[in-house]
């Protein structure tokens, strides 16, 4: 029980507490955080999808408007049939158109016959009635087929994006208006778009050339292969119509993108936002959860540490106390004021130590008694668990005396080993009987023995018990006597018993205690024994009355006994004097 190295358990307790607290605090938080993050991510993704699609659609609508605006202006140029001569009014309209629509670099009007009638330009010289044949020009052919024709995007000087827009009148006679449009003007639409903080939009034509981008230099570079990532984004977005998709931007950054088409030109507008920014709120939430987790973990650890310390201190105190009590320091007391079960445990241990102290004191006392008392009495005290049975009192007892007849002569004749062995057998025989009847062997004195019944241990019907015991003693010793006689030793055995009040108790000095009985009854019993012949059991009147008819008792003639003024009535157990051997 006593442990001198109490370190390992402390750690163990800490680990247990920590794991428990950590799990209790962190696991629910983790689950909550993870689910919140997942739901947030889903919502944000849906919201972003919506936002990006909306921005792309808005930009597409504006660019569509831009192109429709141009074609509407051109339609105005082709609503009247041509006269044969120069048309001054149309020239003015053309000049006005250039002023009103800054993106148109030049305007060419072709009549129904495919001849150029008017050309006005911001850069080149204006021409009137040049009559040049444009009948087979793709723009004229295209406009004749679809009324509004948009040419492919071209890069002037390998850099500046332009496009030809041709519009045919509703009758062939009114001809076709062909405008050269500077697509850099779309930049204003595109650069005005901001998705979130840094999100933006760009426009690709059908073959995948960059038509507009907030960074105009990307457009001016006219490098189709350099914008490959933008084309891939478009391809991915087109595959998931109306949904934002994730992909890589020009610089390899992850972005979310959604697409809308400009039906008139068959171009695509793609709105994109860096993933890191788009999912910013989610990262924010994750960060918050993370910080909360860390804070909770620290709190749990601190709490666990504090609680464990609170536990470990008292537990070590208890451990120490138990070790000391175990080592015999019964006076040790464990002082705990935790107000909980531990305090109660300490109190229990203190009580235990008290009881142990008492019990030890008692066992010491008994041990001491055992040293000084006759073993039989000591044993009795031991059984009783208390030496108070030995305290002096006055009780009704039956005193039994017995001794061997002719022992003095025998002891004078026989060798000491024979004497000792004979006595040993004699005592053995008596002892068994006495023990069997719960009587107390008070003293040996040579061959004489004094036995007390009903003290110090009370019993029922002591007289009968004593008489029965005496009979068995006689029977037991008789066997021995016959053996001894065969060996030539003439020995006999007599018993006397008397009943009456006596003072019983411990007597003696510090060095030696004896338990004995004092009183007339003792003398009477001793005299009766002395008066008994071999094989005879003499009983006084008190005992005889007490026995009644349970045993056959024969009243003998009252005898004069030493120390008794009058003759004492005497009873003998069942047998007549003639039975006794001579």
């Amino acid at each position: 029980m006593a442990s001198d190295a109490p370190k390992p358990p402390r750690k163990l307790l800490f680990a247990k507490y920590f794991v428990a607290m950590f799990a209790a605090v962190v696991v629910p938080l983790l689950v909550a955080g993870a689910s919140e993050a997942w739901l947030g991510y889903r919502d944000q993704r849906a919201r972003l999808s919506e936002l990006l699609s909306l921005e792309a659609r808005l930009a597409a609508a504006e660019i569509q408007n831009f192109l429709e605006g141009i074609s509407a202006q051109l339609t105005w140029m082709v609503h009247l049939p041509w006269s044969s001569g120069a048309d001054e009014r149309r020239r003015l309209d053309g000049l006005r158109l250039l002023r009103q629509v800054p993106s148109i670099m030049s305007l060419r009007l072709i009549d129904g016959g495919g001849k150029e009638r008017l050309f006005v330009s911001r850069i080149g010289l204006n021409r009137v009635e040049s009559g040049e044949d444009f009948a087979s020009d793709p723009s004229v052919v295209g406009a004749a087929g679809q009324r509004v024709w948009l040419g492919p995007v071209t890069f002037q000087g390998g850099s500046e994006p332009f496009m030809t827009v041709a519009v045919a009148g509703n009758r062939s006679a009114v001809g076709t208006a062909v405008a050269e449009v500077n697509l850099k003007f779309i930049w204003e639409v595109i650069s005005a778009i901001r998705v979130g903080r840094t999100g933006e939009a760009y426009v690709l034509d059908r073959p995948g050339r960059l038509v507009a981008h907030p960074d105009i230099s990307l457009v001016l570079r006219a490098d189709e292969s350099a914008v490959r990532p933008l084309q891939l984004l478009r391809a991915a977005a087109a595959a998931q119509a109306g949904q934002a998709i994730a992909g890589r931007d020009l610089d390899g950054q992850m972005v979310m993108a959604a697409m809308a088409t400009i039906p008139m030109a068959d171009w695509s507008v793609i709105a994109k936002q860096p993933l890191a920014e788009a999912l910013g709120p989610i990262y924010g939430a994750l960060w918050r959860t993370g910080i909360l987790l860390v804070a909770s973990a620290i709190l749990a650890a601190l709490l666990a540490y504090w609680l464990t310390q609170r536990m470990v201190g008292p537990i070590r105190l208890l451990e120490d106390g138990v070790a000391r009590i175990g080592a015999g320091e019964f006076g040790h007391r464990i002082h705990l004021t935790t107000g909980d079960e531990l305090e109660r445990l300490a109190e229990r241990l203190n009580d235990m130590a008290g009881e142990l102290a008492l019990s030890q004191e008692r066992s010491e006392r008994i041990g001491r008694l055992k040293r000084f008392l006759a073993p039989q009495v000591a044993e009795l005290v031991d059984q009783a668990g208390d030496d108070r049975v030995l305290d002096g009192r006055r009780v009704e007892v039956v005193v039994v005396f017995c001794d061997l007849r002719g022992f003095t002569a025998f002891s004078a004749r026989a060798a000491p080993e024979v004497i000792i062995s004979a006595l040993s057998a004699y005592y053995d025989a008596l002892d068994r009987v006495i023990a069997a009847h719960g009587a107390t062997l008070i003293s040996f004195l040579g061959d004489g023995v004094m036995v007390l019944v009903n003290a110090p241990v009370a019993c029922s019907d002591p007289a009968l018990r004593a008489v029965t015991m005496a009979c068995e003693m006689q029977a037991g010793v008789r066997q021995l006597l016959s053996e001894w006689r065969k060996a030539g030793h003439e020995l006999g055995f007599g018993v006397g018993l008397a009943m009456g009040p006596a003072t019983v108790g411990r007597i003696g000095s510090e060095g030696r205690f004896d338990y004995t009985a004092i009183g007339n009854v003792v003398n009477l019993a001793a005299r009766l024994c002395a008066s008994a012949k071999d094989g005879e059991i003499l009983v006084d009147r008190e005992a005889a009355h007490a026995v009644g008819t349970a045993v056959v008792l024969v009243e003998q003639e009252a005898r004069a006994l030493k120390g008794f003024d009058q003759r004492v009535p005497v009873f003998a157990v069942g047998a007549s004097p003639s039975n006794a051997p001579a």
Partner: protein, 300 residues
């Protein structure tokens, strides 16, 4: 702090509006002089021959990049001095033809910038004069023989004259004391008016030219809006505010680490036509509706 070397062909006063536009562009790219960028300027005060030396001076000041606004001369002077220092130019004309960059889309070297359409539209100025004065068949073309773009412009004008059925007389002027001769020549040969080629030297001296034109009562058209604003008749040219603003933006982008080789040369989108009706009235001219409807700004 990065340092911009600003190579000015004239004086700060003459280029005030252009400087403002440049600073706007620079601010758009996130740079403000004195806060996160320093600007060192050298001014040639119209003596373009000094430009290469001034450019070297700037380079000696360990500038991060050179800004060369106001024409091909400035860009070429900067190129001669800069070595590996990036240059952002602003000019009218074709930078590929001038040998400044290998292509508009991929400049390739240490230079990029903005080009206006002024040089290309010289012929349009002749067209406008002819439209204003339909009876006149002879016009004076004022040219600066020291300008790197003068030959291409004269060729362009000659072709236009043929197309319009006009005759041209070229009068050279490379110093301001030669300006007067342009107008006296116009008057002496009975020319309908003077068409100025695109040239920064002329542009920066619009006020002086306007004054001479008014004094000699000669109709004239230049590239710069400063001319009609100062009382001259007409102007047609690229929007220099736009070109200088873009120059500022490009300067900022290069300061941020982009390479001039990767920045395509930008062309301005806007060409402006100014007419001063008061000047026309003073000259006894009626401006036809075709010109009025083409004009972006009519000064009354």
């Amino acid at each position: 702090m990065p340092v911009i070397g600003y190579l000015g062909p004239e004086t700060p006063e003459r280029t005030a509006s252009r400087l403002t536009a440049f600073r706007e562009g620079l601010a758009e790219a996130g740079y403000v002089d004195g806060r996160n960028v320093a600007i060192i300027s050298r001014w040639a005060d119209g003596q373009y021959a000094k430009l290469p030396a001034l450019a070297r001076e700037l380079v000696a000041n360990n500038v991060t990049l050179l800004v060369a606004p106001g024409g091909a001369e400035v860009a070429l002077a900067a190129k001669s001095a800069a070595g590996n220092i990036p240059i952002v130019f602003e000019l009218g004309g074709d930078p590929v033809a001038l040998g400044l960059v290998s292509s508009l889309a991929r400049p390739g070297g240490t230079m990029t910038g903005v080009t206006s359409l002024s040089v290309e539209v010289s012929r349009k100025r002749l067209e406008f004069m002819s439209e204003l004065l339909p009876t006149a068949k002879l016009f004076v073309v004022a040219a600066n023989p020291t300008s790197p773009t003068v030959n291409s412009q004269l060729k362009n004008l000659d072709a236009a004259a043929v197309a319009l059925g006009l005759e041209l007389r070229v009068v050279n002027a490379s110093r301001s004391d030669e300006f007067e001769g342009i107008f006296t020549t116009a008057r002496s040969i009975g020319a309908g008016g003077v068409v100025f080629t695109s040239d920064p030297y002329f542009a920066y001296r619009s006020a002086r030219l306007a004054e001479l034109a008014t004094r000699h009562a000669v109709p004239a058209i230049t590239q710069a809006l400063d001319f009609p604003v100062a009382g001259g008749l007409m102007s047609y040219g690229g929007d220099f505010r736009q070109s200088h603003r873009h120059t500022g933006i490009y300067t900022g982008r290069i300061l941020k680490g982009e390479k001039p080789a990767d920045l395509p040369v930008q062309r301005v989108t806007k060409v402006e036509f100014f007419i001063n009706l008061k000047a026309a009235q003073a000259l006894g001219l009626t401006v036809p509706p075709s010109l009025l409807s083409s004009a972006d700004v009519v000064i009354e």
